[in-house]
């Protein structure tokens, strides 16, 4: 019974983790149909922002939840102005340019921060279930992920800004002819997406440590989660994180973490063969 509970907690933790690292990518992909290949590096920079501001004496919660997302969102604004804006409508070129950005950011981080792992202590301890000890921090991650997703859903569903965003997503030309400026919507979206990646990086810093090349580890999982989810940003990502996170955790428990990752990928590949447009391309169509 205890063992079952532990597995269950692990599944919840993995799902929350997966949802958190994917949401920034999902926002940008859902709005612009562009895969931001510098996503992993945005996570990395969020981690560095959280660690450096903690070291500078800022409260760790503020560093993780405020400083990290804001600083990466700021970077997102700059990147959108300098690079992405020139490439709208050229989807493949946007991906290539963002990959260039990813390499550039890795290089810059290695040069300025050094090629070593830096970390901070997790602000919460652990608790016990029967004979097992579990990290309470997983629940913080899952909780934040839940808040972000609930907030995103409400924002898209209830507010005027959300209405504009959904309109632009569905039909750019129509939205534009009704007086909405797509380039402004895109700029805001890119900044929000970058900010959410930064938030994920800040929250992950205490458990994984931060390294200039760490982005690679998250980028693949995030992509797979987002494209398995399909067109709907909030619903799709949440559903596919739940599905793939469960598959990953269960196969990790049965075998090794590496096989767990392989199982995640395999499941996603077969899944996309069956549902090429992702979960929300067929089921839950039209949900935000």
């Amino acid at each position: 019974m205890d063992y079952f509970l532990v597995v269950l907690f692990q599944i919840v933790g993995t799902v929350g983790n997966l949802a958190l690292i994917s949401v920034g990518l999902a926002v940008i992909f859902g709005m612009m149909r562009v895969i931001n290949l510098a996503h992993g590096e945005f996570i990395m920079l969020g981690g560095f922002a959280a660690i450096f501001s903690t070291q500078a004496g800022i409260n760790i919660w503020i560093a993780m939840l405020v400083v990290a997302p804001l600083s990466v969102a700021l970077l997102g604004v700059v990147v959108e102005r300098l690079i992405m804006r020139r490439l709208y409508g050229r989807m493949v070129d946007t991906m290539l340019a963002s990959w260039g950005l990813s390499l550039l950011l890795i290089g810059l981080a290695t040069t300025f921060f050094g090629n070593r792992v830096v970390g901070i202590a997790a602000p919460v301890g652990s608790f016990r279930v029967g004979g097992y000890s579990l990290g309470a921090y997983d629940f913080v991650l899952t909780g934040v992920a839940a808040v972000v997703f609930a907030g995103g859903y409400l924002l898209l569903r209830m507010t005027r800004a959300g209405l504009i965003a959904r309109a632009t997503m569905q039909n750019r030309e129509m939205a534009s002819s009704l007086g909405i400026e797509p380039s402004r919507v895109y700029a805001v979206t890119f900044a929000i997406g970058a900010g959410l990646s930064g938030l994920a990086g800040g929250l992950l810093a205490p458990i994984s440590g931060v390294l200039p090349t760490m982005g690679v580890a998250y980028v693949a999982k995030a992509f797979i989660t987002v494209i398995t989810g399909g067109a709907s940003v909030v619903t799709g990502t949440a559903l596919s994180a739940a599905l793939l996170g469960s598959i990953n955790t269960i196969s990790t428990f049965l075998t090794t973490p590496v096989v767990g990752d392989v199982a995640l990928l395999l499941a996603a590949t077969i899944f996309l063969r069956l549902l090429p447009t992702g979960i929300t391309g067929r089921i839950f169509k039209g949900a935000p």
């Binding site: 494209i227 069956l274 090429p276």
Partner: protein
Amino acid sequence: MNSPLTLPAICRSARAHVALAAIATIAAIVILPQAAPLYTLINVTLYLSMGVFALSLALLWGYGGILCFGQSAFFGLGAYAYAIAAINFGDTTLAAAMAMLVPAIFAAGLGYFLFYGRLNDVYLGVITLTVTLILFKLINSTGGDAWRIGTARLGGFNGIPNTPLLTLPFSRVPLTPAQMFSLAAIALFGVYTFSKGLLATRFGRAVIAVRENEMRAELLGYNARRLKLSIFVISAAIAGLAGLLFANSVFVSPTMFSLSMAAQVLIWVVVGGLGTLFGPVAACFALQMGTTALGKLGIVDPNIVLGVVLIVFVVFVPGGIQPALANLLARLSASRSPAGDGVAREVTR
């Protein structure tokens, strides 16, 4: 066609390209082993293997229209297949065939899911990238004695340092660096000629037709999914060959699967020019030499340079170097002789 010996005419003729490449290959094989020191020779062999790698993606992406972010998966698989087979068989000829066969089979399996699932370019790029990352992870975790295939230890992140060198068939004497260089040069020439020939066949033209307009090609009766799968498998086999050559000039290691490897080959094709074969190879040589020199100086991280090059080319020179140069050449000759006007228009398209 009236004056076949003008510069633009040579630039357009596939036969002239192959002839020029043959001359360059022969000249390199004759001169370089005599003139260059051993270190340079081995380095150039490495560049040649990378050139073959660049061609594999130039063919797949430039002509097949399939953007594969994980071409390094096939590169690495080819090298590992070769090393494992060579250690187990004790003979390298069959192992060399495995280097092309294993990536081709892997590509056939992966491609079935990709193309018959009708995934479009973004999904395709992401899946291929993810497969590569997973392979990279998997190979890195194979340290220790438990991970072995036959008598070959996979060696985790150390790779397989005792990769056997190629021998001639039925011989136990490994090739000398000079012979290895010649083999690599011939392989590059061979793959170049093969690609040119392939693109001129009915199959090659159909592949290009699918790139131009998949729907129209299908309505005309071509099986777009099978064509895409075929060019994907061919490209994987070429990448495997590149991996074989790479393994023989360095040794087999997990970095062959790495993201920077996958990024590099993409950058060569972008810089050289999409839809060209010579451009990517030239860009590969130039950038390899550039990053090696920078690495020696140690001032700038090579990642910064590669990243900036990729961004600058995508934003400012989206066609790549070769088309830009061809246009320039055509414009120059057009301004010299009014008769060349038609040529200029044709190259500009």
